[in-house]
Amino acid sequence: MSRYLTNSLKSGWSVSLQSVQGASRSFVLFVTLLCFLATSCRKETTETARKLEFDAFVPVYNRYIENWLKTQQAETEKEIAKVTTDLATAEGDAKTALEAKAKALQQDQEKWNFRLGLGPYLKFSNPSEMPTDLVWENGMDQPEIGDPRAKKGGVFRRSIPEFPPTLRPFGNNSNHSFRGDLYELIDMKLITFHPETMKLIPGVAREWSSSADKRTIYFRLDPEARYSDGNPVKARDYLISAYVRVSDNLVNPYQKQYFREEIAQIAMYDDLTLSISLPEASVFGPLNAGELTPSSPVFYAEYGPDYDLRYQWRFPPTTAAYEVRPKDIIKGVSITQTRVKNWWAKDRKYYKYRFNPDKLIHTVVRDSNKDFELFRASEIDTSLVTSPELWYEKCEIPPVHEGYIERATFYRRYPRIPRGLYLNLWKKPLDNLDVRIGINHAIHWQKVIDVIFRGDAQRLNSMNEGFVGLSDPLIRARPYSIEAARAAFAKAGYTIEDSDGILKKADGTRLSIALTHRKEPSFERMCSILRQEAKACGLDLRLDGLESTVTYKKAMQKQHEMIFWGWNTDPPVPDFYQLMHSSTAFDETGKPKVDTNNFFTWARADTDSLSEMVRNATTPEDLKNAMQSLQRIIHDEAIFVPGYSVDFARIASWRWVRWPDCEDTRFSPPVTLDPHEMFVYWIDDDIKKETLAARRSGKTFPESTRVFDDYREKAPEKEEGNEP
């Protein structure tokens, strides 16, 4: 367990330290304290003058990281010694488990050694230190994104459910639902992936290159990259970006952990060249390293211990297309984003047809029903109407029939959210494979899809389905089958039928499993259907509907038997480690480990190495194999009952909101949950005038309901080109 101790030096640079357990490590802590006392930072920081203080921070933080690495190294060393002695006496399964553990520890040790060998964490270097044999890539061979007909200008109006508590990109309360619109969705990263081909494309970096060991990625910044305040972007700004996030001027545990553990080094060579090293090489290394965004030293000139309050409502200069001007923040009511004048990337290949409207107005509408009514009254320009009620009933209104509102169904290619039932193997009788297989056959998702989703959703087939080029398309979820379920239950010993039709064992144990779910009307409806259909198979599902935080807590405590859940997915690659690795399954006493995402309480040596492989694979082939093996194991062991997935988005928009329809982009690039997030739409003011005039005069247009199914998954057994 790790917890953070804050160095309590009164006025020194106090730096987060990982907690130190055991007497031997308190010595290290003592040494660290001495180090801090010995530095001259004390004198500097007693001043309250407003300065960035970056230069003073660098040596302190570098030393902190070095000490932390040494501690980790010593600890791993000790564990290796322990495992080696245990290994000498172990036999059978325990031996394989220990061998796998020893291997993982060796890998860890290698990681610490590599990082210690790199030198300072934040490094000011010079071009002569760069390798000379680098092969630079620029990713300019990918198709364009968006429609060349897109017009710049106009105002796009939409609603948000709540007003953000702050505009800061990090720090207290910054993880709110609006931060995506402000930052993640529009940010210019160093490099990013193309939302259709999944290949790397440039962002702020014009070129990039990987070192021979694939752990260090070098970036050359675009010389024209500018912040919205007109200042050029420099390599040093990326080091500052790390500084403002990890310093003890703010409470920011997750990002502090991220910078400490997921990044090995950030180095600059000249104003336009930098490198980012990762602790381990992986297929998507360049993408992970390229996630960083710069922070303007001009803006953070007043950075200090009161950062949280001082910067609460200041929007930092951005390299992205939209900025928030101070006068556009109407607290509690609305926020307006304005397109940056002469945005530096406006003519860049992958950005020139995107981010089209001049202004994006986000108005707070707390009630989702009111949101649709506002859309109907044309106070809002588009509405996401994926749900069947909205699509089939609420959209049957005159503006749709008269062609003022146009509708589209867009099939996307986004990884399927692994929504379904997670079985906790710690609870009896779920430790029995036959019972689990029986449950998989006894859960009637198809009926849920037919009744609740009106046949529009699809059956999910496996955990982490839909990662393009990675997921195993051949795994099919077990269908609802009374016969198969009963056969499996009989194999597990449930042969006698109780008076209410529920199966029991000869000793009277009833086949009764609690299904924990969030107490929401729609989930309650689905689970009631599952319960009713499971009964026909002799399985008693006890519905355990709980308030959502209680549900989460119950699963985190591993108190659930079966839980209806869905994890967020994030392309390009899923993570199995937190769901299946043995380190997340049991604690030292052999009890299920609390506060981990391993809802299966699953632990096995081979899945440990496979899930590590998914994290650290260096070739796409290894990654694919490891991932497919894990998917296959999850299916074979029947620990997850795949639920349903919706692989399209349905959008209703007023006529003047235009969506791409050209060779490169049909409606939207496919790798997105919500096509709005790609910013490829535009506002056509001429059509707006025409439509408004037509509404006044009563002129109508033909109704428009389009389907964009270019990325719809085809039935796997059928060949293409078989159309009549």
Binding site: P388, E389, Y392, E393, K394, E396, H401, T409, Q446, K447, D450, V451, R454, G455, S481, I482, E483, R486, S499, D500, G501, A514, T516, K519, P521, E524, R525, C527, S528, I529, R531, Q532, K535, A536, C537, R542, L543, D544, G545, L546, E547, V550, E703, T705, V707, D709, K714, A715, K718, N722, E723, P724
Partner: protein, 521 residues
């Protein structure tokens, strides 16, 4: 009195008889079912339902005692007789009581009136009565083979299948749907075609919405689904093969296909030539009232029949009232009378206790409870316990004042001098003299209970989803305002019940009023 006793005796005897003979009789089965379902009401291990037997025995003995007493207790108290007469004269209250009793009778019919299990099945020359059997029969018992053989018998399907073959018969209850746990396939409604344009039923306006051709109308298995505008197919169309795999997409304009794509087995023409139903209007849940499908009041968004669901809700309300009222009154009356009769410290302390209780925010307690209670115990008992915990305070103050007033009266002193014990004085002397307070209060407590159950369910902290509750239906209706049949039918049912109870309450109050003419007249 005699009638009540007879009724109680009958119910108890039926319950015991049903249990011995392995029959599930309407309402009478309930004691034993509760006893089996609630863990602490049966002897663990042997599964002996002691609570059921206890209830049956109590009903029989109580009923017998009542009948015997009605013969031995001599002529009726003239005051009571006069009150009864006055009550019967107040027609509004009297008829409301009759309606309420009739509703109670209907609610007691239980699975004989509402349920998915057949009342009687004649199969291969033998008559079977599935609704009254404690164990579900299976499809295979009626000669069904294949994937659903092991599933509980689907009598509605059997009835449809046997319609042509005359030798087997199925008699279903009047409403052949269970209140809960009986999600119906999506519904559909007949369309009529006139001059190439489709109309819904006898409507004069061309149909707008989804239409489909079905492989199986009752099971909701769709072959082709179109969008219809002005009575003609316009817009996207989808097709599925008999296994449910999507095989066909098309775009229609004014009834003609503009573009189409078929990627199933064989050729497209064969797909179209399959035997299917005519075009029908697709009515997904919540479906509007469709008498031809047997859903007189439509369906809920869960796919339950609204009429059956309302009936289930009515049963829950009556059940809750039958448990809640006696307990709350027993506690409230005893406590209130003791407070008034003893006075002094006991009175002071009890008053403070009641003040504390009444100041605890009830809703918070319910929310906390509902997240704390393990799912095994969730259900009517726990909700009633909470309601009882916070429901007994109301009448204590009334009883306290009544006891305070009466304890100085001569008849109490006389009883004391004669050496009567305190409980005897309280329950044999004091209680009958305050009966008018209690009787007047009963109907209002009942309406209060119905509204609090409804509001708790509306807020989502009430009964688990296996219970049919009006509150949940109301919630469903308000989140689906485009399905007005949900909210109107619930609203009417709820208001009607509360109005009836209030009318009875008013009439009782008036009949028991010592002053014949009151300001209310």
């Amino acid at each position: 009195m005699r009638l009540l006793g007879f009724f109680s005796l009958l119910l108890g005897a039926l319950a015991a008889f049903g249990e011995r003979m392995g029959l599930a009789l309407p309402t009478a089965r309930w004691f034993f079912n509760v006893s089996r379902e609630v863990p602490f009401l049966k002897i663990t291990g042997s599964d002996f339902p002691w609570f059921g037997w206890l209830c049956a025995a109590l009903m029989i003995l109580g009923g017998l005692a009542m009948i015997v007493r009605s013969f031995t207790s001599g002529p009726r108290n003239p005051i009571t007789a006069r009150r009864m007469k006055r009550f019967c004269e107040i027609k509004r209250g009297y008829y409301s009581l009759l309606i309420l009793l009739a509703l109670g009778g209907i609610a007691m019919l239980d699975q004989a009136l509402v349920g998915k299990r057949a009342l009687a099945v004649s199969y291969e020359g033998k008559w079977i009565f599935p609704a009254f059997m404690p164990r579900d029969l299976k499809n295979k018992d009626f000669g069904v083979t294949g994937a659903t053989a092991e599933a509980p018998a689907d009598y509605r399907k059997l009835k449809r299948d046997w319609k042509e073959a005359k030798e087997n018969r199925v008699i279903m209850p009047l409403i052949p749907y269970d209140p809960t746990g009986d999600t119906l396939p999506p519904r559909s409604k007949k369309l009529t075609e006139r001059d190439g344009i489709y109309y819904e039923g006898s409507s004069r306006k061309p149909y707008w919405g989804l239409v489909a051709k079905y492989y199986d109308v009752a099971e909701g298995k769709i072959q082709l689904r179109y969008t219809m505008r002005k009575g003609k197919q316009t817009g996207a169309a989808d097709g599925w093969d008999a296994t449910g795999k999507p095989v066909y997409n098309a775009e229609y304009q004014d009834g003609e296909a503009v573009s189409e794509r078929y990627n199933g087995e064989g050729i497209k023409e064969d797909f179209f030539d399959q035997e299917t139903s005519d075009l029908r209007a697709v009515k997904y849940h919540p479906a509007p009232p469709i008498p031809e499908e047997g859903n007189w009041l439509g369906t809920t968004s869960q796919g339950y029949d609204v009429l059956a669901y309302l009936y289930g809700g009515l049963q829950v309300n009556f059940k809750a009232a039958l448990i809640y009222l006696p307990i709350v009154y027993l506690i409230g009356i005893t406590f209130g009378m003791m407070m008034g009769y003893f006075g002094g410290w006991f009175d002071l302390v009890s008053q403070r206790l009641i003040e504390i209780f009444s100041n605890v925010p009830f809703l918070f307690i319910v929310i906390i409870f509902s997240s704390m209670v393990p799912e095994k115990f969730k259900g009517l008992p726990i909700i009633l316990t909470i309601l009882i915990l916070f429901g007994w305070m109301g009448m204590t103050y009334l009883m306290r004042t009544a006891a305070y007033r009466d304890k100085e009266r001569d008849y109490i002193s006389a009883a004391k001098i004669l050496g009567a014990s305190t409980p005897r004085i309280l329950f044999r002397h004091l209680l009958p003299n305050t009966i008018s307070i209690i009787v007047t209060l009963v109907p209002f407590t009942m309406s209060g209970l119905v509204s609090s159950l409804t509001s708790l369910d509306y807020l989502g902290f009430g009964l688990p989803p296996e219970y049919a509750t009006w509150g949940r239906l109301l919630n469903d209706g308000l989140s689906n305002l485009s399905a007005p049949w949900l909210v109107t039918s619930t609203f009417i049912a709820l208001v009607a019940l509360l109005v009836i109870i209030t009318f009875i309450g008013e009439a009782v109050r008036e009949a028991f009023d010592p002053k014949k003419f009151t300001y209310y007249r």
